[in-house]
């Protein structure tokens, strides 16, 4: 994990969480900018997972190797699924669905920061 990148993921995901709540409160479906932003959060998340897996292949061994790999893979599928699910029926609840996925990405990144300690 790169701390700066992880904190960036946490920050951009946090904005996505709030954005989804705002559109839900104002009773609007997520707009195009919001959907593009969610895609952007996904890109940063994927980059983070690729770098972390590259570091593991390169020899870094986190104490909880299987759990860490599970998190690195699981974290990248949340937003795409939420995106599809949010677009089937577009209303205020679509924004909440996107918020939930972003919240999960945020929480999993925090957990990854804790998991990223060398074995031994």
């Amino acid at each position: 994990m790169i701390d700066a990148l992880a904190y960036s993921v946490i920050a951009v995901a946090g904005v996505a969480v709030i954005w989804g709540i705002v559109t839900a409160i104002t009773n609007k479906p997520p707009g195009k900018a919001q959907l593009l932003y969610a895609a952007g959060v996904e890109v940063v998340t994927v980059v983070q997972s690729i770098i972390a897996i590259a570091k593991i292949i390169g020899g870094f061994r986190p104490a909880e190797l299987a759990t860490t790999i599970g998190y690195l893979i699981g974290i990248v599928i949340l937003i795409p699924i939420a995106w599809l699910w949010a677009n089937v029926e577009r209303n205020r609840f679509s924004g909440i669905v996107l918020s939930l996925a972003a919240l999960a990405v945020l929480a999993m990144t925090l957990r990854l920061l804790m998991l990223w300690i060398p074995a031994g």
Binding site: T67, W85, S94, L100
Partner: protein, 143 residues
């Protein structure tokens, strides 16, 4: 297209997979993923450490998967299955929560339901209640 299919919901009931139901299903989906992934890692790498806790994690994951799919499908049959799954979920979280409180030594490793789901902000305890409320709210009206 699979040809002619019956209207999913029948008569006047509301759909489980519409409106706020989509948020509920999203939460179930996240828990299905979390519990199943956690159980898989635990069962594959450290089964001997806490077999009971890990098997309960796997059971929890299975129940979340069934609830997610059945709520999303919303046919009369899937609605019944959802009800069964969510009742099991409620029993599971209350039972495992209580047992892990009374007999912590039987649960040396956490499951999603340990201490009523404290590791997940108690969402596992609230979720089945919301699920049952949602099934009630969307129940088909008897003719």
């Amino acid at each position: 297209m699979t040809g002619v299919q019956a209207e999913p919901t029948g008569s006047a009931g509301r759909r489980t997979n519409s409106g706020a139901g989509r948020v509920l299903i999203a939460v179930y989906g996240i828990f299905a993923l979390a519990a199943t992934a956690r159980a898989s890692v635990q069962l594959l790498t450290r089964f001997d450490e806490a077999p009971l806790a890990y098997l309960l994690s796997a059971l929890a994951g299975l129940i979340y998967i069934v609830a997610t799919i059945t709520l999303a499908r919303d046919t009369p049959a899937s609605r019944r299955l959802a009800l069964i799954a969510i009742i099991f979920e409620l029993i599971g979280v209350v039972m495992v929560g209580t047992l892990s409180l009374l007999y912590p030594e039987a649960f040396p490793r956490a499951t999603v339901w340990s201490l009523y789901g404290i590791g997940y902000g108690f969402v596992p305890l609230v979720l089945p209640i919301l699920g049952l409320a949602w099934l009630w709210h969307t129940r088909p009206h008897a003719s």
